[in-house]
């Protein structure tokens, strides 16, 4: 029994816990929709409690026990992360910390220790919040998503995966199986910055991920992605195009950050106004680029 007004109860529905991916995909086809995929439950259960998720499904399909979806591997030129991998494991992974440290940084700022011990990367992406913290770093890495159903599998670039707030291209019978990251070259620099209403356990008001190289004092391969400033997490190609090929210095960096803040399309919501988000897009982008220029100590 729950004593809080407005705290909805968990709906009484059937529960399934497939142990293998193949069994799960067969089950999803049999159910023909009307199911909810769950793994960590760290987004789903609070949404049910708040009344943000209506209990219009009749089955839970729990993916947590599918061990074959829980991994972080290096395969040739790709880092592959299984969708059911816990956020805490991604944050701690030596592969992630070494090759794509801004992803580890972003994951470490999701929720709390408890949330990261249960929550999964597949869940963070499938939930498709415009503020999803794993998205900006993955967008700068030009990551791809592997979707699987009983009939087929397809690989979708992450920037085509999100359709809008809470909406993805995932269709009935499909699950997000794997995140594929082309391994970047060693001389690239990264940053992830997140602004929230408080220091810890906060949704992003604005988040920025940057990835770039500096060769002979010139910016190369600049990639910038922002969260919480558009219906989906986005890259800012105009700012990227402006900075790439320019000499490192001012006013280039400030101008590049300005262009990024012109590209974003934030809304005003309970957390911040659109104007504030635009301003902070400029501030965080500028700081992130500057941060990429200062040498950082190696991650332990």
């Amino acid at each position: 029994m729950s004593f809080f007004i407005g705290s909805r109860t968990i709906p009484e529905v059937e529960y399934h816990r497939p142990k293998e991916l193949a069994a799960a995909l067969v089950l999803l086809r049999e159910l023909k929709g009307g199911y909810k995929l769950i793994a960590g439950g760290t987004d789903l259960i609070p949404a049910i409690r708040r009344g943000a998720l209506s209990p219009d499904f009749s089955h839970w399909v729990d993916l947590r026990s599918i061990k074959e979806l829980d991994y972080i591997r290096q395969e040739d030129s790709l880092i592959c992360i299984g969708a059911v991998t816990r956020l805490a494991d991604i944050e701690a992974s030596p592969i992630i910390r070494k090759d794509v440290p801004h992803l580890a940084e972003a994951v470490g700022q999701i929720g709390s220790l408890q949330i990261r011990s249960q929550g999964t990367i597949g869940g963070n992406l499938s939930n498709a919040s415009p503020a999803a913290d794993t998205a900006p770093p993955l967008l700068t890495l030009e990551a791809k998503i592997l979707l699987k159903s009983i009939d087929r599998q397809r690989v979708v670039p992450l920037d085509q995966f999100f359709l809008g707030p809470g909406k993805t291209v995932l269709s009935v019978g499909e699950i997000l199986a794997e995140i594929q990251i082309p391994i970047p070259r060693a001389e690239e620099k990264y940053c992830f910055l997140k602004l929230g209403r408080r220091n810890a356990f906060t949704l992003a008001i604005v988040s920025v991920a940057t990835r770039l190289k500096i060769q002979n004092g010139v910016f190369q391969g600049v990639r910038i992605a922002l969260g919480a400033v558009a219906p989906v997490p986005i890259r800012v190609p105009k700012a990227e195009g402006f900075l790439t090929g320019q000499r490192v210095g001012e006013p280039t960096i400030t101008n590049g950050a300005r262009i990024a803040s012109d590209e974003v399309q934030p809304i005003s919501d309970v957390r911040a106004s659109a104007a504030y988000r635009k301003d902070m897009s400029y501030v965080l982008t500028r700081r992130a680029i500057l941060s990429c220029m200062t040498p950082k100590p190696a991650q332990p």
């Binding site: 729950s2 004593f3 809080f4 705290s7 109860t9 968990i10 709906p11 009484e12 529905v13 059937e14 529960y15 816990r17 769950i38 960590g40 439950g41 760290t42 259960i45 609070p46 409690r49 708040r50 839970w60 729990d62 947590r64 805490a88 929720g111 709390s112 220790l113 408890q114 949330i115 011990s117 249960q118 810890a200 356990f201 332990p300």
Partner: protein
């Protein structure tokens, strides 16, 4: 034990197993009052559907009070006045227990980051940090179990 999927792990711990230490706070995974260690990891039991725990190992505060003897971490909390109303305490202690076994950096900043999922309205966290640092000293000098 047979459980219904709509019972959360918290419901099972409190209602079925009558475990007193686990507290119902926000039921949204924000306050940490329901924190227990599941397979060695700190989790909010309010967010877990009970069938998901099948085959797992759980540690609650009761496990840190063996044969009437308090675990050194509990003693550190008591001696450093890290407990006022006590509502956050079980969750706080379980997270602290995890941190003492997993953190490499015991600065204030690092401990605070580890405690970000456990809210306390009474203490202002100051004495909780003191207690954890005191417990770390005990652990390092071998007074631990």
């Amino acid at each position: 034990m047979e459980v219904e999927p709509q019972e959360t792990f918290l419901d099972v711990l409190k209602n079925r197993l009558k475990i007193k230490s686990v507290h119902r706070g926000c039921e949204e995974g924000e306050c940490g009052a329901c924190t227990v260690l599941l397979n060695g990891r700190p989790v909010c039991s309010c967010l877990i559907l009970s069938p998901q725990v099948d085959g797992g190992e759980v540690l609650t505060l009761e496990g840190l009070n063996q044969n009437g003897e308090f675990h050194p971490l509990l003693t550190a909390f008591m001696e450093n006045y890290a407990i006022q109303c006590g509502y956050c305490t079980p969750g706080m202690v379980m997270t602290a227990y995890y941190l003492l076994h997993h953190l490499t950096d015991f600065s204030d900043e690092s401990i605070r980051k580890g405690l970000e999922g456990n809210l306390c309205r009474c203490t202002g966290y100051i004495n909780i940090l003191k207690a954890i640092k005191a417990a770390k000293k005990e652990k390092d000098s071998g007074c631990w179990w």
